[in-house]
């Protein structure tokens, strides 16, 4: 059985007819060619598939596409504003906070949401906020540095 699902992806209205139980992850990657969202474990344990659903972090491997009906989805491809990278993306670049880069999309989206909700995080709250994201290259040190750097950048911007 197919249903028609309508949702907004990175600011663009999308409508497609598909199995309502199909994973949002698969629809993003296979129908919309938004392959920046990664399939890691497929069971919500690694965070590689993180997207925002109505602005809140959500694991797209656990979401049936019908759960996104009428909602707004943001993927890593939708985080930058044109050529202007999000401060967290800039910070990951500056710190070289990736090895293979497979977990990077989820890491960046998680960090951006973390800093939005907690602009001055302690190291403990960064770890707590990012804990659900696995980096198999074990590049956590630089990822921590990147999140700290992004927080400092945003702090500087606030205080002008």
């Amino acid at each position: 059985m197919s249903v028609t699902v309508r949702f907004r992806v990175n600011g663009t209205e999308r409508s497609l007819t598909t199995d309502p139980q199909r994973r949002l992850l698969d629809v993003l990657r296979e129908e919309l060619q938004l392959t920046g969202t990664k399939y890691g474990c497929g069971e919500g344990q690694c965070g590689a598939c993180l997207v925002y659903l109505d602005g809140e972090p959500a694991r797209s491997c656990l979401l049936p596409v019908r759960a996104a009906d009428g909602k707004s989805v943001t993927t890593i491809e939708g985080l930058a504003r044109g050529d202007a990278l999000h401060p967290v993306q800039e910070a990951f670049l500056e710190e070289g906070a990736m090895q293979c880069g497979y977990c990077t999309s989820g890491m960046i989206l998680a960090a951006a949401a973390l800093l939005r909700d907690n602009p001055d995080p302690t190291d403990e709250s960064i770890v707590a906020g990012m804990n659900g994201h696995l980096c198999r290259c074990n590049g956590y040190g630089k990822i921590m540095n990147a999140v700290r750097r992004a927080a400092a950048t945003k702090r500087a911007a606030r205080h002008g």
Binding site: Q33, L85, Q99, C100
Partner: protein
């Protein structure tokens, strides 16, 4: 691809990479299909582009440890150009030499020297070409930042040489395993921390990993593990790709 690409197909592919007009043609034989060996032409590893960039080719795969950066640095070091001017193509078997598998920590000890030899040979051949045009001794010429300079102050860029007809034959000469490599104390690019060449693609989600590539008619395989000892498979499944999947 079922058939090895011809030299001209390969050239067309490289042009499609968008790094400027390529004027170097490959050796008549399909080096991309061969195990490396003696006598490989420089053009199996390096192309000069008219915009001054250099395309370098490696059969190795990036698994996260940074060979994309390292091999790019190796080519840039020996060609004496800034690292941003080298575009590395990895693992596309239609284009790259057969460098064997990516395993056993062999890329650094084996392929970095191979890339350096190719780039150093290219630099020597191009310097010799400039020396012939200027009728001077090649040993008196210096290369810096992709510019060949004579003691009298004449200069020629790689980009200008790339437009010279002789350059085609020049880079079809074999890589010299005994070519003098830049000594460590003279390194400007190797041994220096550089950003991953594709870092921006990684943070914007646009880098294509193997699992992001869809080829026409691509099939998927999966290992099925039997739930009990001695169990046998009752049914085989096959599925055609879901509609809407398409080639990138």
């Amino acid at each position: 691809m079922d058939e090895p690409l011809t030299a001209l197909d390969r050239r067309a592919f490289l042009q499609a990479l968008g790094s400027g007009l390529l004027i170097t043609v490959t050796a008549p034989e399909a080096w991309a299909q061969r195990r490396e060996g003696s006598g490989m032409p420089v053009s199996s590893r390096l192309f000069l582009n008219e915009d001054g960039t250099i395309t370098a080719l490696s059969g190795k795969v990036e698994e996260g440890q940074g060979p994309r950066a390292e091999l790019t640095q190796a080519a840039a070091e020996e060609l004496r150009v800034p690292v941003e001017r080298v575009r590395l193509v990895m693992a596309d078997t239609d284009l790259v030499p057969d460098d064997g598998i990516t395993a056993g920590s062999r890329t650094t000890p084996r392929n970095v020297p191979e890339m350096r030899q190719a780039a150093a040979t290219a630099r020597e051949l191009l310097t010799a070409l400039a020396a012939r045009q200027w009728k001077v001794d090649a040993a008196t010429l210096e290369v810096r930042d992709g510019v060949i300079t004579s003691p009298a102050g004449w200069t020629m860029t790689y980009a200008e040489l790339a437009k010279a007809a002789d350059e085609v034959a020049t880079l079809d000469q074999p890589i010299r395993p005994d070519v003098a490599l830049t000594p460590v104390r003279g390194w400007k690019t190797l041994g220096v921390s550089v950003a991953r060449p594709n870092a921006r693609d990684l943070v914007t989600g646009t880098h294509r990993f193997p699992s992001d590539v869809v080829r026409p008619g691509m099939l998927y395989g999966k290992v099925l593990r039997l739930p009990a000892y001695g169990a046998t498979l009752e049914q085989r499944f096959s599925q055609t790709p879901v509609s809407g999947w398409s080639s990138p």
